[in-house]
């Protein structure tokens, strides 16, 4: 039975029921007609019986009164009865009913004859001739026989009615049996298979139910038995396939979730600030690092444009270039100065990537930024180490050279004069010897600061090493214009410095030269000229300046 499709079974049952109906319906109709025929016959027999009784009654009246009206009425009644009996002879079936009908007819005919004899004898009775007593005797004999015939007809009509009633009963029983058989076959042919089918469905549904419940509980490795090829088998296989796909999906989903979780974790825990915007550039998410770097909380920036971070240091051209690159290449990477919520400008290295869909339409922008301010500071520090004196913070020989070259070029362009002053402290060695290097260093730092303050913005005072300094003075119309500043330098160098209860005081010898000169000259030559002039100042008695004189 297993493996037969439910639809096929249902079709089978339907065909069976239709066949039953086709076969049994005519039988049922025949039974009904047979039953109705029996009932009709019964009613007809009753009519015959009633007609006979009517005739008998009229006959009795005649017997009592011997009046002609009764005789005439009896004849009419007899005619009616005769017609009915003729009809009965035609209608009646074979067997007992036919036999009874014949007997009834016979007895009715006999009784008619007897009645006619009675009528005839009545005339004799009324007459005066003959043996009157014999007529009376004959009358009694005839009446007696008439009674017997009537009784016989009475009994026979009863029998006929009973026979027809019995036939009606049999017909009814046949009808009931036909209905019973109809119902039985219906039960056997339809209801039982339907019940069996119901059982099968329930049984098979149980498997599916258990399977579905297992799947619902998350046992995706459960498989419903699906060996049969019917609808349940198909359904079970569909369930199993679904479970397999679900299992795969869920596995993929789990992995995806892990990946998402990882991504979220990366997003959250990344040291780099991450900002995500939509295609229009509106911020839709930022991570903790972003908040840490910019000072803006997530809620403060969501829905806003990243330009709130603008520092103003980058030109509009910079941003135009950035967007052009981003649009063309899908990314941009570079360093940019931005402004924290606190207003502090900071440097960051920024990578912006466009996230595009399958149609190459930009859906989002993801920006990764790292605060590189400390790096910048370190770079500045390195630069300072390279170009500035570590003790005094004044430009060193390298920077001096650079500045000197710039000043020379500028003076050339502007037709101005550059003054180079070589300065050496007088008596510094004795400070070191007397108070130690710390005192010397302290003195150097203090004097350096004073000398720098003594100069203008744009002028440079550099330390070459030890107690040697060089000042480069620019934007001068001629050499004499530098003299006030030379004096301020000498003054500054001669000011006493207090250190741990001591007063430290030195002076400075200063050699000065100018640029340009009549002859082409380079920076080194200028420095050497100044150095020579300084030497002459020292020789001349210290704490003074000496203009280089080539002669």
């Amino acid at each position: 039975m297993t493996g037969v499709r439910v639809a096929t079974r249902l079709k089978g049952i339907s065909v069976l029921v239709l066949l039953e109906l086709a076969v049994l319906t005519p039988l049922l109709i025949w039974s009904i007609m047979d039953f109705r025929s029996a009932r009709r016959d019964y009613q007809f027999a009753d009519t015959v019986r009633a007609s006979f009784y009517e005739r008998s009654g009229i006959g009795d009246q005649y017997s009592l009164y011997r009046e002609d009206r009764f005789r005439q009425q009896w004849i009419e009644s007899n005619t009616t009865l005769d017609h009915l009996l003729m009809q009965a002879n035609v209608q009646t079936r074979e067997g007992l009913e036919a036999e009874l009908t014949v007997q009834i007819h016979q007895n009715v005919d006999d009784s008619s004859d007897i009645f006619q004899r009675i009528v005839k004898n009545t005339e004799a009775l009324k007459g005066t001739t003959g043996n009157h007593r014999v007529y009376e005797d004959l009358d009694k004999r005839l009446l007696s026989q008439l009674f017997l015939k009537n009784a016989a007809v009475h009994g026979l009509t009863s029998d006929l009615k009973n026979a027809i009633a019995a036939r009606a009963d049999r017909s009814f029983q046949r009808l009931v049996i036909a209905i019973g058989v109809f119902a039985l076959i219906l039960v056997l042919g339809a209801v039982l298979p339907a019940l069996q089918l119901n059982g099968l469905i329930r049984r098979r549904l149980l498997d599916l139910h258990i399977g579905a419940r297992s799947l619902t509980k998350g046992h995706l490795d459960y498989r419903i038995p699906s060996r049969d090829s019917d609808e349940f088998g198909e359904l079970a296989r569909a369930f199993n396939t679904m479970a397999t796909k679900l299992e795969t999906e869920i596995l993929a989903h789990t992995r995806s979730e892990d990946a998402l979780r990882l991504a979220a974790s990366v997003f959250t825990h990344a040291r780099e600030g991450i900002a995500i915007t939509n295609a229009q550039g509106t911020l839709i998410d930022v991570n903790v690092a972003f908040t840490r770097i910019t000072g803006y909380s997530r809620d403060e920036v969501l829905g806003k444009n990243p330009r709130i971070l603008k520092s103003g240091r980058q030109s509009p051209y910079f941003y135009a270039e950035m967007w052009r690159h981003l649009t063309e290449k899908g990314f941009w990477r570079g360093e940019i100065w931005n402004r924290r919520k606190s207003g502090e400008v900071f440097a960051e290295i920024l990578t912006i990537s466009a996230v595009r869909d399958s149609h190459n339409m930009t859906q989002h922008y993801v920006a990764l930024c790292s605060d590189i301010t400390p790096i910048k500071e370190h770079e500045e520090h390195l630069e300072r180490i390279a170009h500035f004196d570590a003790l005094t913070g004044l430009p060193n020989r390298v920077l001096l050279s650079d500045r000197l070259h710039q000043a020379m070029a500028q003076a050339q362009r502007r037709n101005q004069t550059v003054v180079v002053a070589f300065l050496d402290l007088d008596g510094f060695k004795s400070i070191n010897d007397q108070h130690g290097h710390d005192a010397g260093d302290h003195l150097l730092i203090a004097l350096a600061a004073r000398m720098r303050e003594a100069l203008r913005e744009g002028d440079t005072i550099a330390r070459l090493g030890g107690d040697e300094f060089v000042a480069v003075l620019i934007d001068l119309q001629n050499g004499d214009a530098c003299l006030p500043m030379i004096e301020r330098l000498l003054t500054a160098a001669a000011q006493p410095v207090h250190w741990e209860g001591f007063t430290l005081q030195v002076s400075a010898s200063l050699g000065v030269t100018f640029y340009p000169q009549t002859q082409d000259i380079d920076a080194d030559q200028l420095l050497r000229q100044a150095d020579q002039a300084m030497y002459q100042a020292k020789m001349s008695g210290r704490n003074r300046h000496q203009i280089f004189n080539a002669a």
Partner: protein, 332 residues
């Protein structure tokens, strides 16, 4: 499958229940009983002959001893003489026996006829019609239907018995008396009625009147026997009912059977067959005829009785009603 069995069982019970209306054969072997049945070689006794020949009595556990007579009055006499337990006889001898005070009971009518009785007259005696019987010597068997029928016949012809010369004869004497011309006519029944006609040939004139007399042939027993062995009566009647059915369905065979049993020519049997109606009943015919004949007997001083007996006491309807209610048309 259990459901199928239950449904089939229910259907079997249902259909089975509808088939218990007819008297079914006894389920257990019956106790065998010996009875003596007095009956006649007349066609009226056909059902008894069939029941004997076809073993219907035996089926009912009745071992029947047959006591055959030529006519019913003799058969009844053997019952009255306690030579038989049951007898078959027409109503006239029954009527006379009751008037004499015999305690007998009719348990069934097994035959009825309006044409079994007749008067056969000799044409050479000048008999051309019923009216010609006037002043004629007419043979009859007193105390039998022959007696009553003759009076009915004469009445029908406008005659009285006094206008004729009745001659008492036994049935078997009639043919010879006619041939010997010691009588001009005889009132008798079949088979003698037809046999006499055959013997006389064209000289015979059959006179009958089916509108003045209905003969009944009955099964009678002593009331004491009825009370002592009611079950035997029922078995007897059950066998009679079987014989009735058998006879209706096997006309030819029963005719041959009667021919053999009564030593009567088969053609004669067939000739008179339709005269008789073989039904086991109890209806108005027996009661009414007994009373008619009683009036006749009293009027003609054939009995000392002057009061009509209540014949209902002599007709036992219970046994037949218990077996076939519709066969009993007498209600009391």
């Amino acid at each position: 499958m259990r459901a199928v069995v239950v449904v089939l069982w229910a259907l079997w019970v249902f259909t089975g229940c509808s088939q218990h209306n007819e008297s079914s054969p006894p389920q257990v072997p019956l106790e065998s009983r010996n009875i003596t049945v007095a009956y006649t070689t007349q066609p009226q006794s056909t059902l008894i002959h069939v029941a004997v020949a076809k073993g219907f009595f035996a089926e009912e556990g009745l071992q029947v001893q047959s006591l055959l007579h030529t006519f019913g009055k003799a058969s009844l006499q053997s019952l009255l003489n306690h030579q038989a337990d049951i007898a078959t006889v027409a109503e006239t001898p029954i009527m006379f026996s009751v008037l004499k005070g015999e305690q007998i009971a009719v348990i069934a009518t097994v035959e009825a006829s309006t044409r079994n009785n007749g008067v056969v007259g000799r044409r050479d005696a000048g008999i051309r019609s019923a009216g010609d019987l006037k002043s004629k010597r007419i043979g009859y068997t007193p105390g039998t239907t022959s007696d009553f029928f003759l009076d009915s016949m004469l009445t029908s012809a406008g005659l009285t018995r006094a206008e004729t010369t009745p001659v008492a004869l036994k049935p078997q004497e009639m043919q010879d008396a006619l041939v010997a011309k010691t009588v001009d006519a005889v009132s008798t029944w079949n088979f003698p009625l037809s046999q006499i006609q055959q013997v006389l040939g064209s000289n015979a004139l059959l006179i009958y009147d089916k509108e003045v007399y209905t003969e009944t042939y009955n099964v009678v027993t002593q009331q004491s026997f009825l009370q002592a062995q009611p079950e035997t009566i029922k078995r007897f009647l059950r066998a009679m009912l079987k014989a009735e059915t058998y006879t209706a369905r096997n006309r030819d065979e029963v005719q041959r059977l009667m021919s053999d049993a009564t030593q009567t020519d088969i053609d004669l049997v067939r000739e008179v067959w339709d005269v008789f109606s073989y039904h086991v009943v109890l209806d108005q015919a027996i009661l009414l005829t007994l009373e008619d004949e009683t009036r006749w007997a009293m009027r003609n001083k054939l009995t000392d009785q002057t009061v009509m007996p209540d014949f209902r006491k002599y007709i036992h309807t219970g046994s037949l009603r218990s077996l076939k209610p519709e066969a009993v048309k007498l209600n009391w």
